[in-house]
Amino acid sequence: MTYLEFEKPLAEIEGKAEELRALARKTPGMDVDKEASALDKKAADMLRELYKGLTPWRKCQVARHPDRPHCKDYIEALFTDFTPLAGDRNFADDHAVMGGLARLSDRPVVVIGHEKGHDTRTRIERNFGMARPEGYRKAIRLMDMADRFNLPVITLVDTPGAYPGKGAEERGQAEAIARSTEKCLELGVPLVSVVIGEGGSGGAVAFATANRVAMLEHSVYSVISPEGCASILWKDSDKMREAAEALRLTAQDLLKLGVIDRIIPEPLGGAQRGREDTIAAVGREIEALLRQFDGKDRATLKAERRRKFLKMGAQGLAA
């Protein structure tokens, strides 16, 4: 278990309980049940307290938690017959974006998502979930295929943002993102998107211009990272707490703004403390959202999606 900076006091208590139990195992006849469970209770209370009102900056930290389930975990657990399809037919295959054909409760779909990786090797391989133009172009190709064969598209968003690299820029990062957003808006099939961790700026929009967007309770979705915003507007990147506050990047604020449609609750202490439950909840939500489009024709699906985005911004947050 990796503890976040604000979970330090919790780590201490849980550590103590663990130590006590280890000691009891080594010393036969020693009874620590009472003390240990008292510590457990204290830890549980503290966890509840910590996660009751997470500040926006803490939510960012939870959303980036390395133990949170990532795209690959969801695909493996929720889908059957997943067949990854690779490449943009142009330049390369981007490992920051995974996608392919799969079945969700027997229903064939196309699933696409950002994958961050779970250890040093896979993180480097996946480029920390930061896609290059090839990733967006692969997504465009897969969405196109879904559209031709009338398969719903499911996107899982989890990216710090598009990769700011030399080659990525030379090969048209901006154009690739623009075309991917455009493709989302052209689809005659349902497009359902779930922000499972970080929804980083244009890199997220390129996948999340969907008929329905759901967010996990502690995920974030923003025009810029709090650190980036702080360094531009506060001229001090240490002001990320203030920036996170001002940007209104939490699922709760975005629901009020009408930018997203659903919030999927996370287990107490975040998705990282109940990975299976989180994955199952996301699966149920995707199926429920997809059912809303049963029987709708292609023109309606497209028109509704466009209308939804044209209307956006009509409601603000009362200060």
Partner: protein, 329 residues
């Protein structure tokens, strides 16, 4: 100090300073350092007369020489919700907006107009880098949608001049949502079979590049314009190496297949007329048919008084280093 410098010099000084002499009569070219007289500069469409560097130009100045005879009518833009997030950094967002309005005498960062160029009816939209770095918020989104709707309604092509540091952070996620919104606007034009020409001007970065500014039927850029998603400084920090000369400039993008053309500001109008008339299957423009546009000289907008010096623009998601602060006009 003698009596002459105490007495005569102040007299001489006051003689000059009493006349209305705003200090912005001269502009220094940021590229070659030449001092350019304002008349000479505006006659040359704000292009340096000695090194051809393209300085920023306000939407109104651009339209005055772009439309036939400088005649155009503004297309109204629906007013968005003011300050939807109640955003506050070191300053309140409404205060930042107000000082940008004072400094530019414009309401927001985009101007939409209709008129004719070379007797070809068009709708044009122009982004104002001088207004909070041209950043794209809900107003800019509404402006592009209004421009597309007007173009579809009147069956006219749309010419869009982009210039922006990126999305307007003060509108948070709603500025990000302008990427899909403006993309819908482009799709309206496409479905109506109307040409959409984008002129990318210095600088066009971030979410603006990654939406409507890259979706034109024809993509033209002004020389040496910075055009990118992530700005050079962000990239240098990421890859920890120096970027090549001219990286992310218009000519570099042209070489990498990202643009159709790089065109000097003086030739833009003529080129757009020729392209549009072909795309619209209209007869070629006849030179004699085209009244030479009479440059309309606006008196320079009163310079911002000392206490309202236009603040440095605070733009941009991905490209915070949006180049130089715009010169107060």
């Amino acid at each position: 100090m003698n009596w002459i410098s105490n007495y005569v010099r102040p007299k001489i000084n006051s003689l000059f300073s009493r006349r209305e002499m705003p200090e912005n009569l001269w502009t220094k070219c940021p590229e070659c350092g030449t001092m350019l007289f304002h008349r000479e500069l505006s006659d040359n469409l704000n292009v340096c007369t000695s090194c051809d560097h393209h300085l920023p130009i306000s939407p109104r100045d651009r339209f005055a020489t772009f439309f036939d005879g400088g005649i155009y009518t503004e297309v109204p833009v629906p007013e968005p919700l003011a300050d939807p997030l109640a955003f506050r950094d070191q300053k309140k967002y409404p205060d930042r907006l107000r000082s940008a309005q004072k400094a530019t005498a414009e309401k927001e960062a985009m101007l939409v107009a209709e008129g004719e160029i070379g007797r070809t009816p068009i709708v044009a939209a122009c982004q104002d880098f001088g207004f909070m770095a041209g950043s794209m918020g809900m107003y800019v989104g509404n402006a592009i949608i209004a421009a597309a709707e007007r173009a579809v309604e009147r069956r006219r092509p749309l010419v869009l001049f982009s210039a922006a540091g990126g999305a307007r952070m003060q509108e948070g996620i709603l500025s990000l949502m302008q990427m899909p919104r403006t993309t819908v606007a482009v799709q309206m034009l496409r479905e109506a079979g109307l040409p959409y020409i984008v002129v990318l001007t210095h600088p066009t970065t971030g979410g603006v590049t990654a939406s409507y500014a890259m979706l034109g039927d024809v993509q033209i850029a002004e020389p040496n314009a910075l055009i990118c998603f992530a700005g050079p400084r962000v990239i240098e920090q990421t890859i920890r190496e120096k970027l090549p000369e001219g990286f992310q400039r218009a000519e570099y993008l042209l070489d990498h297949g990202m643009l159709d053309r790089v065109t000097h500001r003086q030739k833009l109008r003529e080129e757009i007329i020729i392209i549009l008339r072909m795309l619209l299957r209209m007869p070629p423009p006849v030179a004699a048919d085209l009244p030479a546009p009479k440059p309309v000289h606006h008196e320079p907008v009163a310079p911002a008084s000392a206490e309202t010096t236009p603040e440095a623009p605070a733009p941009a998601e991905a490209a915070p280093e949006a180049p130089q602060t715009p010169e107060p006009k």
